[in-house]
Protein backbone atom coordinates (compact mmCIF):
# COMPACT_ATOMS: atom_id res chain seq x y z
CA UNK A 1 0.00 0.00 0.00
CA UNK A 2 1.34 3.42 -0.94
CA UNK A 3 0.57 6.66 0.90
CA UNK A 4 1.66 9.79 -0.91
CA UNK A 5 1.69 13.10 0.99
CA UNK A 6 -0.36 15.62 -1.00
CA UNK A 7 1.32 18.72 0.43
CA UNK A 8 3.55 19.48 3.40
CA UNK A 9 1.35 20.58 6.30
CA UNK A 10 1.93 23.94 7.96
CA UNK A 11 1.43 22.59 11.47
CA UNK A 12 2.38 19.09 12.55
CA UNK A 13 0.15 16.13 11.87
CA UNK A 14 -0.19 13.43 14.50
CA UNK A 15 -0.76 10.15 12.70
CA UNK A 16 -0.51 7.14 15.06
CA UNK A 17 -3.11 5.43 12.91
CA UNK A 18 -0.58 5.01 10.09
CA UNK A 19 0.53 1.67 11.41
CA UNK A 20 0.65 -1.85 9.97
CA UNK A 21 -1.36 -3.36 12.83
CA UNK A 22 -4.20 -0.90 12.28
CA UNK A 23 -4.17 -1.37 8.50
CA UNK A 24 -4.19 -5.15 8.82
CA UNK A 25 -7.38 -6.75 7.43
CA UNK A 26 -8.81 -3.35 6.49
CA UNK A 27 -9.83 -2.26 3.00
CA UNK A 28 -8.35 0.82 1.34
CA UNK A 29 -11.58 2.82 1.71
CA UNK A 30 -11.69 2.15 5.46
CA UNK A 31 -8.03 3.08 5.87
CA UNK A 32 -8.57 6.37 4.05
CA UNK A 33 -11.03 7.40 6.73
CA UNK A 34 -8.75 6.62 9.68
CA UNK A 35 -8.47 9.71 11.89
CA UNK A 36 -5.32 11.80 12.13
CA UNK A 37 -4.85 15.17 13.84
CA UNK A 38 -3.73 18.30 12.02
CA UNK A 39 -2.89 20.57 14.89
CA UNK A 40 -5.94 20.24 17.12
CA UNK A 41 -8.28 19.47 14.23
CA UNK A 42 -9.34 15.88 13.53
CA UNK A 43 -9.03 14.94 9.87
CA UNK A 44 -8.76 11.68 7.97
CA UNK A 45 -5.81 10.10 6.24
CA UNK A 46 -7.13 10.93 2.76
CA UNK A 47 -7.20 14.65 3.61
CA UNK A 48 -3.42 14.62 3.46
CA UNK A 49 -2.42 11.42 1.65
CA UNK A 50 -3.23 9.82 -1.66
CA UNK A 51 -3.81 6.17 -0.84
CA UNK A 52 -3.24 3.51 -3.52
CA UNK A 53 -3.19 -0.29 -3.43
CA UNK A 54 -4.38 -2.63 -0.72
CA UNK A 55 -2.43 -3.39 2.47
CA UNK A 56 -0.23 -6.48 2.24
CA UNK A 57 2.05 -6.38 5.26
CA UNK A 58 3.91 -3.31 3.98
CA UNK A 59 3.18 0.42 3.92
CA UNK A 60 5.26 2.74 1.76
CA UNK A 61 4.95 6.46 2.44
CA UNK A 62 6.27 9.13 0.09
CA UNK A 63 6.81 12.84 0.64
CA UNK A 64 8.46 15.12 3.17
CA UNK A 65 7.01 13.80 6.42
CA UNK A 66 9.18 15.88 8.72
CA UNK A 67 6.00 17.37 10.19
CA UNK A 68 4.20 14.05 10.51
CA UNK A 69 4.54 12.55 13.97
CA UNK A 70 3.91 9.16 15.58
CA UNK A 71 4.06 7.01 12.44
CA UNK A 72 4.13 3.31 13.37
CA UNK A 73 2.98 3.90 16.95
CA UNK A 74 2.66 0.61 18.82
CA UNK A 75 3.56 -1.41 15.73
CA UNK A 76 3.88 -5.17 16.26
CA UNK A 77 4.45 -6.63 12.80
CA UNK A 78 4.88 -5.83 9.11
CA UNK A 79 7.01 -3.12 7.55
CA UNK A 80 6.77 0.62 7.01
CA UNK A 81 9.08 2.29 4.51
CA UNK A 82 9.26 6.08 4.66
CA UNK A 83 10.73 7.42 1.43
CA UNK A 84 11.90 10.72 2.86
CA UNK A 85 12.23 12.52 6.17
CA UNK A 86 10.00 11.79 9.13
CA UNK A 87 8.78 13.75 12.13
CA UNK A 88 8.97 13.18 15.86
CA UNK A 89 8.15 9.99 17.72
CA UNK A 90 8.38 7.63 14.76
CA UNK A 91 8.00 4.08 16.11
CA UNK A 92 6.83 5.15 19.56
CA UNK A 93 5.86 2.07 21.61
CA UNK A 94 7.03 -0.18 18.77
CA UNK A 95 6.94 -3.88 19.74
CA UNK A 96 7.90 -5.65 16.53
CA UNK A 97 8.13 -5.39 12.76
CA UNK A 98 10.37 -2.99 10.89
CA UNK A 99 10.41 0.72 10.05
CA UNK A 100 12.85 2.11 7.48
CA UNK A 101 13.33 5.86 7.15
CA UNK A 102 15.19 6.61 3.94
CA UNK A 103 15.81 10.23 4.92
CA UNK A 104 16.33 11.98 8.25
CA UNK A 105 14.32 11.63 11.43
CA UNK A 106 13.71 14.40 13.90
CA UNK A 107 13.73 14.04 17.68
CA UNK A 108 12.64 11.13 19.81
CA UNK A 109 13.01 8.22 17.46
CA UNK A 110 11.19 5.20 18.93
CA UNK A 111 10.63 6.21 22.54
CA UNK A 112 9.37 3.29 24.67
CA UNK A 113 10.31 0.83 21.93
CA UNK A 114 10.36 -2.78 23.17
CA UNK A 115 10.98 -4.80 20.01
CA UNK A 116 11.49 -4.74 16.26
CA UNK A 117 13.96 -2.90 14.06
CA UNK A 118 13.94 0.80 13.16
CA UNK A 119 16.49 2.05 10.64
CA UNK A 120 17.17 5.70 9.83
CA UNK A 121 19.37 5.96 6.76
CA UNK A 122 20.05 9.67 7.25
CA UNK A 123 20.55 11.58 10.49
CA UNK A 124 18.41 11.49 13.62
CA UNK A 125 17.65 14.28 16.05
CA UNK A 126 17.99 14.32 19.80
CA UNK A 127 16.70 11.68 22.23
CA UNK A 128 16.97 8.58 20.03
CA UNK A 129 15.32 5.77 22.04
CA UNK A 130 15.17 8.00 25.09
CA UNK A 131 12.52 8.26 27.76
CA UNK A 132 9.97 11.01 27.49
CA UNK A 133 10.50 13.87 29.91
CA UNK A 134 9.12 12.83 33.26
CA UNK A 135 9.22 9.12 32.44
CA UNK A 136 11.67 6.73 34.10
CA UNK A 137 12.31 4.39 31.18
CA UNK A 138 13.27 4.75 27.54
CA UNK A 139 13.44 1.89 25.08
CA UNK A 140 13.44 -1.60 26.60
CA UNK A 141 14.17 -3.78 23.58
CA UNK A 142 14.60 -3.93 19.82
CA UNK A 143 17.17 -2.26 17.61
CA UNK A 144 17.52 1.32 16.40
CA UNK A 145 20.04 1.82 13.63
CA UNK A 146 20.97 5.35 12.56
CA UNK A 147 23.38 5.41 9.64
CA UNK A 148 24.13 9.11 9.99
CA UNK A 149 24.60 11.36 13.02
CA UNK A 150 22.44 11.65 16.11
CA UNK A 151 21.85 14.51 18.52
CA UNK A 152 22.07 14.63 22.29
CA UNK A 153 20.82 12.15 24.88
CA UNK A 154 20.80 9.08 22.68
CA UNK A 155 19.47 6.16 24.74
CA UNK A 156 18.60 8.26 27.76
CA UNK A 157 17.18 6.03 30.51
CA UNK A 158 17.05 3.06 28.14
CA UNK A 159 16.49 -0.34 29.79
CA UNK A 160 17.33 -2.78 27.00
CA UNK A 161 17.85 -3.25 23.29
CA UNK A 162 20.51 -1.74 21.05
CA UNK A 163 21.05 1.66 19.50
CA UNK A 164 23.75 2.03 16.87
CA UNK A 165 24.85 5.38 15.48
CA UNK A 166 26.91 5.14 12.30
CA UNK A 167 28.13 8.74 12.43
CA UNK A 168 28.74 11.08 15.33
CA UNK A 169 26.62 11.40 18.45
CA UNK A 170 26.04 14.48 20.58
CA UNK A 171 26.39 14.89 24.33
CA UNK A 172 25.03 12.74 27.12
CA UNK A 173 24.58 9.47 25.22
CA UNK A 174 23.28 6.86 27.66
CA UNK A 175 22.43 9.42 30.31
CA UNK A 176 20.75 7.71 33.28
CA UNK A 177 20.87 4.42 31.36
CA UNK A 178 19.56 1.33 33.18
CA UNK A 179 20.45 -1.46 30.71
CA UNK A 180 21.03 -2.05 27.01
CA UNK A 181 23.74 -1.26 24.49
CA UNK A 182 24.67 1.92 22.63
CA UNK A 183 27.27 1.75 19.86
CA UNK A 184 28.67 4.92 18.33
CA UNK A 185 30.88 4.41 15.31
CA UNK A 186 31.81 8.07 14.87
CA UNK A 187 32.86 10.72 17.35
CA UNK A 188 31.01 11.56 20.52
CA UNK A 189 30.20 14.64 22.50
CA UNK A 190 30.78 14.99 26.21
CA UNK A 191 29.53 13.27 29.36
CA UNK A 192 28.71 9.87 27.92
CA UNK A 193 26.93 7.62 30.41
CA UNK A 194 26.35 10.31 33.02
CA UNK A 195 24.29 8.75 35.79
CA UNK A 196 24.20 5.30 34.17
CA UNK A 197 23.42 2.34 36.45
CA UNK A 198 24.08 -0.60 34.14
CA UNK A 199 24.38 -1.11 30.40
CA UNK A 200 27.07 -0.65 27.79
CA UNK A 201 28.24 2.31 25.75
CA UNK A 202 30.73 1.47 23.01
CA UNK A 203 32.55 4.24 21.16
CA UNK A 204 34.94 3.71 18.28
CA UNK A 205 36.80 6.89 19.08
CA UNK A 206 38.35 8.69 21.98
CA UNK A 207 36.08 9.55 24.88
CA UNK A 208 36.87 11.65 27.92
CA UNK A 209 35.16 9.68 30.68
CA UNK A 210 33.56 11.59 33.50
CA UNK A 211 35.58 11.74 36.74
CA UNK A 212 33.01 9.40 38.28
CA UNK A 213 34.11 6.60 35.92
CA UNK A 214 37.00 4.30 36.82
CA UNK A 215 39.45 2.66 34.42
CA UNK A 216 39.30 -1.17 34.56
CA UNK A 217 41.46 -2.59 31.78
CA UNK A 218 42.34 -2.58 28.09
CA UNK A 219 41.04 -5.69 26.36
CA UNK A 220 39.26 -7.10 23.34
CA UNK A 221 35.61 -7.44 24.35
CA UNK A 222 34.47 -10.65 22.77
CA UNK A 223 30.75 -9.97 23.07
CA UNK A 224 31.18 -6.87 20.95
CA UNK A 225 32.03 -8.98 17.93
CA UNK A 226 28.46 -10.29 17.87
CA UNK A 227 27.08 -6.76 17.88
CA UNK A 228 29.45 -5.46 15.23
CA UNK A 229 28.80 -8.44 13.00
CA UNK A 230 25.07 -7.82 13.39
CA UNK A 231 25.54 -4.17 12.40
CA UNK A 232 27.51 -5.27 9.37
CA UNK A 233 24.65 -7.58 8.47
CA UNK A 234 22.29 -4.60 8.75
CA UNK A 235 24.33 -2.68 6.20
CA UNK A 236 26.48 -0.49 8.45
CA UNK A 237 30.06 0.10 7.44
CA UNK A 238 32.21 -1.55 10.09
CA UNK A 239 35.96 -1.21 9.93
CA UNK A 240 37.28 -4.78 10.28
CA UNK A 241 40.19 -3.52 12.36
CA UNK A 242 37.79 -2.20 14.96
CA UNK A 243 36.27 -5.63 15.49
CA UNK A 244 39.63 -6.83 16.75
CA UNK A 245 40.73 -3.57 18.37
CA UNK A 246 41.75 -3.18 21.99
CA UNK A 247 39.20 -1.17 23.97
CA UNK A 248 39.52 0.60 27.27
CA UNK A 249 36.88 -0.43 29.77
CA UNK A 250 35.72 2.11 32.30
CA UNK A 251 33.17 1.38 35.01
CA UNK A 252 30.57 3.90 36.06
CA UNK A 253 28.76 5.90 36.96
CA UNK A 254 29.88 5.78 40.59
CA UNK A 255 27.27 8.31 41.59
CA UNK A 256 24.81 5.50 40.87
CA UNK A 257 25.32 1.70 40.90
CA UNK A 258 28.69 1.85 39.11
CA UNK A 259 27.71 -1.27 37.13
CA UNK A 260 27.70 0.36 33.72
CA UNK A 261 30.55 0.17 31.26
CA UNK A 262 32.06 2.59 28.81
CA UNK A 263 34.20 0.96 26.14
CA UNK A 264 36.21 3.01 23.72
CA UNK A 265 39.29 2.93 21.56
CA UNK A 266 41.91 5.14 23.10
CA UNK A 267 43.26 6.95 20.06
CA UNK A 268 45.74 8.81 22.24
CA UNK A 269 47.47 5.66 23.39
CA UNK A 270 47.40 4.31 19.83
CA UNK A 271 49.11 7.48 18.61
CA UNK A 272 51.82 7.05 21.26
CA UNK A 273 52.53 3.54 20.02
Amino acid sequence: MLLKLKSTPEVPIEAPTICTDRFKARKKDEIKKFPIHHGNRECSIDDFFEVTGEYQEEIKIEGDLSKVKLIGAGMKEGKIIIEGNVGMHVGVDMKGGEIVVEGNATDWVAPRMSGGLLTVKGNAGHMVGSAFRGEKTGMTGGEIIVHGNAGNETGGRMRGGMIAIGGDAGDFSGVDMHLGTIIILGKTGIRQGAGMERGTIICMNQVEPLPTFTFACSYQPLFMRNYLLRLKELGMKIDEKKINEVYERWSGDSIKLNRGELLFINNKSLEKE
Binding site: G141, P221, L222, F223, R225
Partner: protein
Protein backbone atom coordinates in the same frame (compact mmCIF):
# COMPACT_ATOMS: atom_id res chain seq x y z
CA UNK B 1 23.40 -62.78 1.43
CA UNK B 2 23.99 -59.43 -0.31
CA UNK B 3 27.58 -58.51 -1.08
CA UNK B 4 29.56 -55.32 -1.56
CA UNK B 5 33.12 -55.82 -2.82
CA UNK B 6 33.17 -59.45 -1.59
CA UNK B 7 31.88 -58.44 1.85
CA UNK B 8 28.67 -60.12 2.86
CA UNK B 9 26.03 -57.87 4.37
CA UNK B 10 24.28 -59.86 7.08
CA UNK B 11 20.49 -59.75 7.03
CA UNK B 12 20.14 -58.17 10.45
CA UNK B 13 19.39 -54.81 12.04
CA UNK B 14 20.96 -52.25 14.31
CA UNK B 15 18.79 -51.48 17.28
CA UNK B 16 18.78 -47.76 17.98
CA UNK B 17 17.24 -45.73 20.78
CA UNK B 18 15.43 -42.48 21.31
CA UNK B 19 17.75 -39.92 22.85
CA UNK B 20 17.89 -36.14 23.30
CA UNK B 21 20.60 -34.08 21.69
CA UNK B 22 22.05 -30.62 21.61
CA UNK B 23 24.61 -28.93 19.38
CA UNK B 24 27.20 -26.54 20.82
CA UNK B 25 29.32 -24.16 18.82
CA UNK B 26 32.62 -23.58 20.58
CA UNK B 27 34.71 -20.70 19.32
CA UNK B 28 38.15 -19.49 20.31
CA UNK B 29 41.04 -17.30 19.28
CA UNK B 30 42.62 -20.12 17.27
CA UNK B 31 41.63 -23.51 15.97
CA UNK B 32 44.03 -25.05 18.48
CA UNK B 33 42.17 -23.58 21.46
CA UNK B 34 38.74 -24.28 20.02
CA UNK B 35 39.73 -27.91 19.49
CA UNK B 36 41.27 -28.15 22.95
CA UNK B 37 37.96 -27.08 24.50
CA UNK B 38 35.93 -29.33 22.20
CA UNK B 39 38.08 -32.38 22.91
CA UNK B 40 37.86 -31.78 26.62
CA UNK B 41 34.07 -31.26 26.50
CA UNK B 42 33.57 -34.47 24.53
CA UNK B 43 36.03 -36.53 26.56
CA UNK B 44 34.82 -39.48 28.62
CA UNK B 45 31.52 -39.51 26.74
CA UNK B 46 31.54 -42.77 24.83
CA UNK B 47 28.43 -44.41 26.24
CA UNK B 48 25.54 -43.38 28.48
CA UNK B 49 26.08 -46.65 30.33
CA UNK B 50 29.14 -45.35 32.11
CA UNK B 51 29.55 -41.70 31.10
CA UNK B 52 26.00 -40.35 31.50
CA UNK B 53 26.16 -38.92 27.98
CA UNK B 54 27.59 -39.54 24.54
CA UNK B 55 29.40 -36.73 22.81
CA UNK B 56 31.67 -36.04 19.90
CA UNK B 57 32.96 -33.45 17.50
CA UNK B 58 30.64 -33.04 14.54
CA UNK B 59 32.90 -30.83 12.46
CA UNK B 60 35.35 -27.95 12.39
CA UNK B 61 33.78 -24.66 11.41
CA UNK B 62 35.20 -21.94 9.23
CA UNK B 63 35.41 -18.50 10.76
CA UNK B 64 32.48 -17.21 8.69
CA UNK B 65 30.31 -20.08 9.97
CA UNK B 66 30.48 -19.13 13.66
CA UNK B 67 28.43 -16.48 15.52
CA UNK B 68 31.50 -14.40 16.35
CA UNK B 69 33.50 -15.13 13.18
CA UNK B 70 36.26 -16.91 15.07
CA UNK B 71 37.56 -20.44 14.73
CA UNK B 72 34.94 -22.90 15.80
CA UNK B 73 34.04 -26.49 16.47
CA UNK B 74 30.58 -28.01 16.41
CA UNK B 75 29.85 -30.58 19.13
CA UNK B 76 26.87 -32.91 19.55
CA UNK B 77 25.91 -34.21 22.99
CA UNK B 78 23.34 -36.97 23.56
CA UNK B 79 21.57 -38.19 26.69
CA UNK B 80 18.59 -40.40 27.44
CA UNK B 81 16.30 -37.52 28.52
CA UNK B 82 15.99 -33.76 28.39
CA UNK B 83 16.59 -33.14 32.10
CA UNK B 84 19.81 -35.09 32.04
CA UNK B 85 20.92 -33.16 28.96
CA UNK B 86 20.60 -29.88 30.86
CA UNK B 87 22.87 -31.23 33.61
CA UNK B 88 25.46 -32.63 31.22
CA UNK B 89 25.61 -29.45 29.16
CA UNK B 90 26.04 -27.32 32.27
CA UNK B 91 28.79 -29.60 33.59
CA UNK B 92 30.69 -29.93 30.37
CA UNK B 93 30.45 -26.30 29.29
CA UNK B 94 31.32 -25.18 32.82
CA UNK B 95 34.23 -27.52 33.33
CA UNK B 96 35.69 -27.92 29.86
CA UNK B 97 34.76 -24.90 27.76
CA UNK B 98 34.57 -22.03 30.23
CA UNK B 99 37.92 -23.13 31.66
CA UNK B 100 39.67 -23.06 28.29
CA UNK B 101 41.32 -19.73 27.40
CA UNK B 102 39.61 -17.41 24.88
CA UNK B 103 36.55 -19.59 24.29
CA UNK B 104 32.88 -18.75 23.88
CA UNK B 105 30.00 -21.22 23.60
CA UNK B 106 26.84 -20.77 21.55
CA UNK B 107 23.71 -22.76 20.87
CA UNK B 108 23.95 -24.38 17.46
CA UNK B 109 20.56 -26.02 17.11
CA UNK B 110 17.31 -24.73 15.68
CA UNK B 111 14.46 -26.38 17.60
CA UNK B 112 11.52 -25.48 19.81
CA UNK B 113 12.72 -27.06 23.06
CA UNK B 114 15.53 -25.60 25.11
CA UNK B 115 17.31 -25.99 28.44
CA UNK B 116 18.76 -23.38 30.73
CA UNK B 117 22.55 -23.59 30.69
CA UNK B 118 24.07 -20.11 30.66
CA UNK B 119 21.41 -19.15 33.19
CA UNK B 120 23.01 -21.62 35.63
CA UNK B 121 26.62 -21.00 34.71
CA UNK B 122 26.12 -17.27 35.30
CA UNK B 123 26.37 -17.83 39.06
CA UNK B 124 30.06 -18.51 38.59
CA UNK B 125 30.23 -14.79 37.88
CA UNK B 126 29.47 -14.15 41.57
CA UNK B 127 27.14 -11.29 40.78
CA UNK B 128 29.56 -9.57 38.38
CA UNK B 129 28.09 -11.30 35.33
CA UNK B 130 26.38 -9.18 32.69
CA UNK B 131 23.34 -10.24 30.70
CA UNK B 132 22.89 -9.15 27.11
CA UNK B 133 19.83 -9.64 24.96
CA UNK B 134 20.52 -9.87 21.29
CA UNK B 135 18.29 -10.85 18.39
CA UNK B 136 15.73 -12.40 20.66
CA UNK B 137 18.22 -14.45 22.62
CA UNK B 138 20.06 -13.81 25.83
CA UNK B 139 23.68 -14.47 26.52
CA UNK B 140 25.84 -14.02 29.57
CA UNK B 141 29.21 -12.37 29.94
CA UNK B 142 30.95 -14.09 32.83
CA UNK B 143 34.12 -12.40 34.05
CA UNK B 144 37.11 -14.75 33.92
CA UNK B 145 40.82 -14.24 34.26
CA UNK B 146 41.56 -13.64 30.57
CA UNK B 147 38.56 -11.38 30.00
CA UNK B 148 35.04 -12.73 29.66
CA UNK B 149 33.40 -16.04 28.87
CA UNK B 150 30.40 -15.61 26.58
CA UNK B 151 27.70 -18.26 26.79
CA UNK B 152 24.14 -18.47 25.52
CA UNK B 153 21.51 -18.60 28.25
CA UNK B 154 19.46 -21.31 26.52
CA UNK B 155 20.62 -24.22 24.45
CA UNK B 156 18.12 -25.85 22.16
CA UNK B 157 17.55 -29.57 22.38
CA UNK B 158 15.71 -32.06 20.23
CA UNK B 159 14.76 -35.74 20.15
CA UNK B 160 17.51 -37.74 18.49
CA UNK B 161 18.64 -41.25 17.65
CA UNK B 162 21.44 -43.07 19.47
CA UNK B 163 23.04 -46.43 19.01
CA UNK B 164 23.03 -46.89 15.26
CA UNK B 165 25.91 -49.22 14.48
CA UNK B 166 27.76 -51.46 12.11
CA UNK B 167 30.05 -54.35 13.08
CA UNK B 168 32.96 -55.33 10.86
CA UNK B 169 33.91 -59.02 10.90
CA UNK B 170 37.47 -59.18 9.58
CA UNK B 171 40.05 -61.80 8.71
CA UNK B 172 42.53 -60.20 11.12
CA UNK B 173 42.93 -57.25 13.48
CA UNK B 174 45.01 -55.22 11.01
CA UNK B 175 42.36 -55.46 8.30
CA UNK B 176 39.64 -54.63 10.80
CA UNK B 177 41.49 -51.47 11.83
CA UNK B 178 42.18 -50.30 8.27
CA UNK B 179 38.57 -50.80 7.23
CA UNK B 180 37.17 -49.24 10.38
CA UNK B 181 39.33 -46.18 9.93
CA UNK B 182 38.25 -45.85 6.31
CA UNK B 183 34.63 -46.10 7.36
CA UNK B 184 35.08 -43.56 10.15
CA UNK B 185 36.74 -41.09 7.81
CA UNK B 186 33.87 -41.35 5.35
CA UNK B 187 31.18 -41.12 8.05
CA UNK B 188 32.75 -38.15 9.79
CA UNK B 189 32.32 -36.07 6.67
CA UNK B 190 28.54 -36.23 7.16
CA UNK B 191 26.52 -33.66 9.12
CA UNK B 192 24.25 -34.30 12.13
CA UNK B 193 26.11 -37.35 13.45
CA UNK B 194 28.92 -38.24 15.80
CA UNK B 195 30.86 -41.44 16.42
CA UNK B 196 31.32 -41.27 20.20
CA UNK B 197 34.01 -43.93 20.73
CA UNK B 198 37.81 -43.44 20.51
CA UNK B 199 38.66 -42.49 16.94
CA UNK B 200 35.06 -43.49 16.20
CA UNK B 201 35.67 -47.21 16.83
CA UNK B 202 34.72 -49.54 19.69
CA UNK B 203 36.23 -52.95 20.29
CA UNK B 204 34.34 -53.77 23.48
CA UNK B 205 30.89 -54.04 22.00
CA UNK B 206 28.37 -54.91 24.70
CA UNK B 207 25.15 -56.76 25.22
CA UNK B 208 22.47 -55.79 27.73
CA UNK B 209 23.01 -57.39 31.15
CA UNK B 210 25.23 -60.37 31.86
CA UNK B 211 24.83 -64.12 31.64
CA UNK B 212 26.77 -64.65 34.84
CA UNK B 213 26.75 -61.43 36.93
CA UNK B 214 23.13 -60.45 37.39
CA UNK B 215 23.78 -56.90 38.68
CA UNK B 216 25.73 -55.78 35.63
CA UNK B 217 23.87 -53.43 33.24
CA UNK B 218 26.05 -54.54 30.33
CA UNK B 219 28.73 -57.08 29.53
CA UNK B 220 30.90 -58.17 26.62
CA UNK B 221 29.10 -59.05 23.40
CA UNK B 222 30.42 -62.61 23.52
CA UNK B 223 28.82 -63.59 20.21
CA UNK B 224 31.28 -61.28 18.42
CA UNK B 225 34.43 -62.13 20.43
CA UNK B 226 36.81 -64.23 18.29
CA UNK B 227 38.50 -65.86 21.29
CA UNK B 228 35.15 -67.34 22.37
CA UNK B 229 34.21 -68.73 18.95
CA UNK B 230 35.02 -72.31 19.89
CA UNK B 231 33.59 -72.01 23.35
CA UNK B 232 30.17 -70.40 23.12
CA UNK B 233 27.32 -71.90 21.17
CA UNK B 234 25.86 -68.62 19.91
CA UNK B 235 28.85 -67.08 18.14
CA UNK B 236 28.02 -64.83 15.19
CA UNK B 237 31.47 -65.11 13.64
CA UNK B 238 32.24 -67.08 10.49
CA UNK B 239 35.16 -69.52 10.63
CA UNK B 240 37.70 -67.19 9.05
CA UNK B 241 36.84 -64.17 11.19
CA UNK B 242 39.57 -63.35 13.72
CA UNK B 243 38.77 -59.75 14.72
CA UNK B 244 35.66 -57.65 15.06
CA UNK B 245 35.23 -53.90 15.44
CA UNK B 246 32.09 -51.84 15.86
CA UNK B 247 31.27 -48.27 14.85
CA UNK B 248 28.47 -46.65 16.85
CA UNK B 249 26.57 -43.69 15.43
CA UNK B 250 24.46 -41.11 17.25
CA UNK B 251 22.54 -38.69 15.08
CA UNK B 252 20.08 -35.84 15.25
CA UNK B 253 17.58 -37.86 13.18
CA UNK B 254 17.05 -41.36 11.84
CA UNK B 255 17.83 -40.37 8.27
CA UNK B 256 21.28 -39.06 9.23
CA UNK B 257 22.08 -42.26 11.13
CA UNK B 258 20.96 -44.43 8.21
CA UNK B 259 23.01 -42.37 5.79
CA UNK B 260 26.08 -42.73 8.00
CA UNK B 261 25.59 -46.50 8.23
CA UNK B 262 25.34 -46.74 4.46
CA UNK B 263 28.48 -44.66 3.91
CA UNK B 264 30.27 -46.69 6.58
CA UNK B 265 29.31 -50.02 4.99
CA UNK B 266 30.45 -48.85 1.58
CA UNK B 267 33.79 -47.56 2.86
CA UNK B 268 34.52 -50.55 5.10
CA UNK B 269 33.69 -53.27 2.60
CA UNK B 270 36.59 -55.07 0.98
CA UNK B 271 38.34 -58.36 0.53
CA UNK B 272 39.49 -58.76 4.13
CA UNK B 273 36.16 -57.86 5.65
CA UNK B 274 34.20 -61.08 5.56
CA UNK B 275 30.91 -59.74 6.79
CA UNK B 276 29.30 -56.54 8.03
CA UNK B 277 26.72 -57.08 10.72
CA UNK B 278 25.00 -54.94 13.35
CA UNK B 279 24.32 -55.05 17.08
CA UNK B 280 20.83 -55.49 18.47
CA UNK B 281 19.08 -56.78 21.53
CA UNK B 282 16.43 -58.82 19.82
CA UNK B 283 14.41 -55.76 18.98
CA UNK B 284 12.80 -55.47 22.38
CA UNK B 285 14.60 -52.39 23.71
CA UNK B 286 15.13 -49.76 21.07
CA UNK B 287 12.50 -47.83 19.17
CA UNK B 288 14.35 -48.04 15.86
CA UNK B 289 15.33 -51.16 13.97
CA UNK B 290 17.69 -50.18 11.17
CA UNK B 291 17.96 -53.15 8.81
CA UNK B 292 21.25 -53.17 6.93
CA UNK B 293 19.76 -54.46 3.69
CA UNK B 294 16.93 -51.94 3.86
CA UNK B 295 19.45 -49.14 4.34
CA UNK B 296 21.28 -50.31 1.24
CA UNK B 297 18.07 -50.72 -0.73
CA UNK B 298 16.75 -47.29 0.34
CA UNK B 299 19.90 -45.69 -0.94
CA UNK B 300 19.87 -47.70 -4.18
CA UNK B 301 22.81 -49.90 -3.27
CA UNK B 302 20.96 -53.12 -2.49
Amino acid sequence: MKKIKNTEIVDTFAEAFEMWASRLIVTAESEEWALAAAKSATGFATSVIGCKCEAGIEKLLKQEETPDNRYGVSILIFTMNAKSLEKRLTERIGQSIMTCPTTACFNGLDSKDSVNVGGQLKYFGDGYQIRKSFLGRRFWRIPVMDGEFIVDEKFNIQPAVGGGNIILLAKDQGSALVSAQAAVKAMQSLPNIILPFPNGVVRSGSKVGSKKYKTLPASTNHSFCPTLKGFVNDSNLPDKANATLEIVIDGLDLESVEKAMLVGIQAASGENILQISAGNYGGGLGKYKINLNEVLAKQGEG
